[in-house]
Symmetry: C2
Subunit: 203 residues, 2 copies
């Protein structure tokens, strides 16, 4: 009887190995051959069966990271609303712990390539749009629940939060001493708690 | 008499050509040979005289961009202090016009490589530190001049601004429709004008 191959499992193993190599040595320095070897294959032939080239592999790696992030967000904000949900959401995006730090490294590699690849840019934009709409939903709940005063421009608030979080992907990599995990959480906390500033919530 | 070669001029031409190729086709797709051809050289030999490899060229390109940005900052904030100087500074960093957009593209390419190259990371960190200290100087002036109430945590304010500006390098590339130049300026304006919120300056 032929041995059954779990293609989904193989794809995932290849992608997770790719994350590790990107984090360790950078996407440019990791060839398809390196990734195949790290997966335990003799050559890149098996990889090509799943991913025709490095851009396709990076795209899949970035997509899985977004999916993982969004799964964690869903789990950690379960049963929460408004500000509590917003905090939970943002804490899964900023690179303030080992898991999100590896994710951020893949994201930075991905952004570089997205500059000249429309299809990659589409995926990056979709992730931003998803997070933006999640943030807006939290802000609307915070208003309804009286956690903050009416927010005159929730889109701008959402953009500020998004840009802070994306900025931290870069600054915490360039300057980990200044942007430690706890520092990142403090900056996030400041931004979110500002929503309540000057807001005499319903007594 | 042998023809004199202006090495400084040549270096600058090579770097400016590199910026253009990075913006047009990405750093990965631009080989040293491509860059040499775009400069009008038959092969990469002349380039190697100035830059031993692509990392060295990218480092020089990023350094010159930081220098150019800082020259523009110095020019545009001349004679200004406090909030006015802070505005002038930030407007030279966010990718809200064609010049700063090309600079941002080079920066994103650079950050990707800085992830695995300590020497590149040092240069990126130095740029952040320079801007951080400039922002702090502006904040201190704004306080002294009564443009805003005492700022309890100027370091955090500076980090927020820096991360917003670095985040915009990425988000405006992924989603230029949502983060147009005018939208970026509005987000910047919100962040800076918040300094004055709740601040009854000296009457």
């Amino acid at each position: 009887m032929p041995r059954l191959v779990d293609h989904g499992e193989r794809r995932r193993t290849i992608i997770e190995t790719t994350w590790r190599l990107i984090a360790e040595q950078g996407i440019e320095n990791a060839s398809m051959r390196d990734i195949a070897h790290a997966c335990g294959y003799a050559g890149p032939g098996v990889l090509a069966h799943y991913f025709p080239n490095k851009d396709a592999l990076l795209l899949a790696a970035y997509r899985l990271i977004c999916d993982n992030t969004n799964d964690r967000i869903a789990a950690s904000r379960a049963g929460k609303r408004g500000i509590g949900a917003l905090n939970a959401l943002c804490l899964e995006i900023i690179p303030a712990d080992p898991v999100t730090t590896v994710e951020a490294r893949v994201a930075v590699a991905f952004w570089q390539r997205a500059q000249t690849e429309e299809s990659l840019r589409d995926v990056g934009r979709a992730a931003l749009e998803h997070w933006r709409s999640e943030i807006l939903a939290c802000l609307a709940q915070a208003e309804v629940d009286g956690e903050c005063a009416p927010i005159p421009d929730p889109d701008a608030v959402a953009e500020e939060l998004l840009n802070l979080m994306i900025g931290l992907h870069v600054t915490s990599m360039l300057d980990p001493g200044a942007l430690s995990g706890s520092r990142q959480r403090l900056l996030l906390h400041r931004s979110i708690s500002r929503l309540g500033v000057g807001s005499p919530a319903a007594p």
